[in-house]
Symmetry: D2
Subunit: 134 residues, 4 copies
């Protein structure tokens, strides 16, 4: 079973047409990614703000909407690595409300030296844990 993170839509995230504004989907994915790495054993605060065993940088995001979500909807965000290269990997986020598809997001992350913006090979341990989730 793929890792799944749940988020309830806040009132502030809904626009004048009564649906979640498009940019917030990237925020939801960021939150889901944080919990995914926590589940893999990497403390998010240490990893992403204090300089842990690795760090990543977004280089590409592709979002495709299949439907919309509204106030109080429970978003189930399935998180699954869909490509693991030498120094970059893709995560596919499938966002549903009940059994209805809302949005599919594919984000490409580049592994970088913690504290720098220089890319580096994905550390072996990270690679192993990502592969176990494919």
């Amino acid at each position: 079973m793929p890792f799944t993170h749940t988020i309830r839509v806040r009132y502030v995230e809904v626009d004048a047409q009564g649906v979640v504004f498009n940019a917030h989907y990237l925020t939801y994915c960021d939150d889901a990614m944080t919990r995914f790495f926590a589940a893999l054993g990497y403390d998010p605060k240490e990893t992403f703000t204090e300089g842990g065993a690795f760090d990543v940088m977004l280089v590409k995001s592709v979002l495709e909407w299949k439907g919309s979500a509204g106030f109080e909807d429970e978003l189930a965000i399935e998180v699954r690595p869909s490509r693991i290269g030498g120094s970059s990997f893709d995560i596919t986020f499938t966002i549903r409300v009940g059994d209805r598809d809302v949005c599919v997001v594919v984000i490409t992350y580049v592994s970088v030296v913690p504290g720098e913006h220089r890319s580096c090979p994905i550390p072996d341990e990270v690679r192993g844990r990502l592969e176990a989730q494919m």
Copy 2:
């Protein structure tokens, strides 16, 4: 025991100084208020977007910071009615991280006719449920 809503700080909510940006505290209170009314038996979606038994409008907010919160912190937001008048009431939100006070927010809501911006007396049922939480 007062109603308490918990929110984990998202990465997007933290600013360049590593602390939650001030405006987000009002968003947290809005989210806590939504859950508080859900707990009182008022479906938030119906009440606040479709025209339910009552509606409210913010007229005043007072925020006092005692500390700061950061990425991954768990905010415990205690929600308690602190004044109930004829057509308006105050809710006090006490926000803590662990046993550390972070922010106290007092919001004044005016009862309005659903779908209009005209103020009206707080409906008796709503008043009763608020009083039970003081």
Copy 3:
């Protein structure tokens, strides 16, 4: 010369690493799109919230980052239609700070019947004005 919209980065939009958080790029593009349609002669408020001559729905967004932006940076967002089909079109947003590329975003919009979510052919007048900007 393509239409260009300028936005100065707000403090709230910068994250703990001192760079603009990824989701805000979609917000910037939305703002640029609004101004682009205003420049084409379509009042944004009437068109996008009151039901004007046409309406659109996002179906896909592709973002590619080439660099980062920080607090107080002036983003120059170039807006150019890059594909015009029967009932959908792509807009390419090229975001720069000075002569430095920061992000390229391609958004696919579907023409919909105002007030409904049903797709429809792009109205001829809209098509003509978009083509003049290619």
Copy 4:
């Protein structure tokens, strides 16, 4: 004439009721404050993120709404120091759309040692420039 900063409301800032969501007013004030200090001769990037001649910390905000604002409204935010104490000062932000009052916000800032959270007397030069705007 008091310093005035203008902001056009973005679509993302408007909620399901078609009005600016309450928390965004604090963001608008932050943006206006940034421009106000720039106008006083303090480069915001240097001052607020790199450690300049002074720094401030919010300790209190009081917001009172007189009306609402919507998509595409031009907010005129008047910025005026309304109290200058030993180590803290208040700024009053008066937000209008045309000649209509929308919101009045009073924010109390504490002068802190740059890079630390320790309060300190307002530097004389800053005090002088603030007083000239009262």
